[in-house]
């Protein structure tokens, strides 16, 4: 991994943010949805327990 | 027992009703024109009194003023009749909702367009618009005004009974009427640079025809949803 890869002809300040932003927002979306899903599953378990 | 009045007679009576409601107070009509004058004034104050600049963008200012002036009064067109129960009466009458809405949008078109056409000389003076543009401007605001009111009825039906509908309406409507602005300004621009505006005009007419066909059905569908609440 040489230096020219990271510098990318001086375009690095445009390229890296766009990749990082995209991956970051997708990652956040993934984490958020997974959390939401686990929360809902937990709630459902609790509710069905109290019912029985 | 069949209907004693034909649909055309009912249609005309509806347009008459809308005219009575809107022209009696004249507040709406005056507010549309004064709003448009104010928007134009704001633009000119914003860009400075340079004739050269103004000449280039006067058509755009005119169209933006037209669209912005029409939007605020759109919300009331259906909301008023929804609140007082007239739409309930319409749906329990033999007249199809689509016909009522078509007459409503045509009436709204006339209500908006008549004062604008009358005040057109004023804007020509204010914006320093070239005189050879006048016939094209007239045609384009007639056609464009019709499509704005047809889309406006859809928007008005979308926000029936919505929370903060008056703020929501422009957000929903403006993306839909972008083509009108482009084709409308296109007509005047092509005339200004001595080209044929026919292409733009046909596109504007085609766009209007599409909405002339689908708008009554879409808004009738929306109103049935709103009434079944």
């Amino acid at each position: 991994m040489n230096e020219s890869f990271w510098i990318m002809q001086g375009y690095e300040i445009y390229i890296w943010p766009s990749y990082v932003l995209t991956l970051l927002s997708l990652g956040l979306l993934f984490i958020h949805s997974t959390k939401q899903s686990q929360k809902a599953k937990k709630l459902l378990k609790q509710l069905s327990k109290t019912k029985n | 027992m069949s209907l004693q009045l034909s649909f055309i007679q009912i249609f005309i009576s509806h347009i008459k009703r809308e005219f009575l409601i809107n022209f009696r107070s004249l507040v709406d009509v005056i507010s549309i024109i004064s709003f448009m004058i104010l928007i134009v004034t704001l633009f000119i104050l914003g860009i400075g009194p340079f004739e050269e600049k103004l000449r280039l963008i006067s058509n755009a200012i005119f169209w933006i003023g037209l669209i912005l002036a029409i939007i605020p009064s759109l919300e009331k067109t259906l909301q008023r009749d929804y609140d007082n129960g007239w739409l309930d009466q319409s749906i329990t009458s033999p007249t199809p909702m689509e016909l009522i809405l078509l007459s409503k949008s045509l009436a709204y078109w006339l209500i908006v367009i008549i004062p604008l056409v009358i005040s057109l000389p004023l804007f020509i003076v204010l914006l320093n618009i070239n005189l050879k543009l006048i016939p094209w401007l007239l045609i384009s605001i007639l056609v464009g005004g019709l499509s704005i009111s047809l889309i406006g009825i859809i928007g008005s039906a979308l926000t029936l009974g919505a929370k903060r509908g008056n703020i929501l309406l422009p957000i929903l409507i403006i993306p839909l009427i972008i083509p009108i602005l482009i084709f409308g300004v296109g007509i005047s621009e092509t005339v200004r640079i001595n080209e044929s505006p026919i292409g733009n005009l046909f596109l504007l007419i085609g766009f209007t025809l599409i909405y002339l066909v689908i708008s009554p059905f879409i808004s009738a569908f929306l109103i049935r949803i709103a009434i079944s609440r």
């Binding site: 890869f5 990318m8 002809q9 375009y11 445009y14 390229i15 943010p17 766009s18 990749y19 932003l21 995209t22 927002s25 997708l26 979306l29 993934f30 949805s33 997974t34 939401q36 899903s37 809902a40 599953k41 709630l43 459902l44 509710l47 069905s48 109290t50 019912k51 | 859809i154 979308l158 926000t159 009974g161 919505a162 929370k163 903060r164 509908g165 929501l168 957000i171 929903l172 403006i174 993306p175 839909l176 972008i178 083509p179 482009i182 084709f183 296109g186 621009e189 092509t190 596109l203 766009f207 599409i210 689908i214 879409i218 569908f221 929306l222 949803i225 709103a226 609440r229």
Partner: protein, 248 residues
């Protein structure tokens, strides 16, 4: 097919099986797409390395448009066949699609700065994407603007379908406007001449993001189904409590 999938239990059963597969495909295509995009693809002769932004920009743009199309289709299913599941699907698609349209605009602007010298140029594609963003926004705002959720879903579905009719016209008119006012001399981002070697990472990234969205949609729809169940259970238990109180 939708009719058949619309049964929530069947939906749960089927997606249970395919969900891991989708996740695996997403990860594989994403990693290989990133590898090819960042390391193993040629520089553009005009744009140099800056062309690498294309591998996130174009897939986002593609997905933002495709997701809007699916949103409108699922709204049609909701309005015509009245499947509650279709509504859940469209209400999960909307925020994801909006995210992609925002990503498109941001990466487009990041691409535009080195190419055009400014962060924003009223380029036809970017302008259309901005309008698309407002359609998503309108859908989300309208579906939350009513006291009862079901009213919002129905009304916003109509808006989405109107948008589906209107968007091609907007796209066309913006292109038309662009040719009218500006002769095309500037470099078009995502331009037509693409090297074969550039095509590979592009396609891989499109696949990665598509499968990712599919995974997210399934996950979120499932969550919403569970939440609905919880609500129903809560309502029931409240009712039972209420009944007991009345008896006493």
């Amino acid at each position: 097919m939708f009719d058949w999938l619309a049964n929530p239990n069947r939906f749960n059963r089927i997606t249970e099986k395919i969900q891991p597969c989708i996740l695996v495909i997403t990860i594989i295509t994403l990693i290989s797409g990133l590898y090819f995009g960042l390391f193993d693809s040629p520089k553009d002769y005009q744009q140099g390395d800056a062309v690498r932004i294309m591998y996130v920009h174009v897939p986002s743009a593609w997905l933002a448009s495709f997701l809007y199309f699916s949103l409108a289709i699922s709204c049609v299913f909701y309005l015509v066949w009245k499947h509650p599941l279709a509504d859940l699907v469209s209400s999960t698609i909307a925020p994801i699609g909006m995210l992609f349209s925002v990503l498109t605009l941001v990466t487009g602007s990041l691409w535009g700065k080195p190419m055009w010298g400014t962060w924003w140029v009223w380029d036809a594609r970017l302008t259309s994407m901005l309008v698309l963003f407002f359609f998503y926004l309108g859908y989300i705002l309208l579906s939350n603007a009513f006291e009862r959720k079901i009213d919002g879903s129905k009304t916003a579905s109509v808006l989405a379908i109107v948008g589906l009719i209107n968007l091609p016209i907007v796209k066309f008119s913006v292109d038309w406007w662009h040719t009218l006012h500006q002769p095309a001399s500037i470099i078009k981002i995502g331009g037509p001449s693409i090297d074969d070697k550039m095509l590979l990472p592009l396609i891989l990234m499109i696949f990665a993001l598509s499968f990712f969205s599919l995974y997210m949609i399934i996950l979120n729809v499932k969550t919403k189904l569970i939440e609905k169940k919880c609500e129903a259970l809560l309502l029931k238990s409240n009712l039972e409590k209420y009944r007991k109180q009345v008896k006493i």
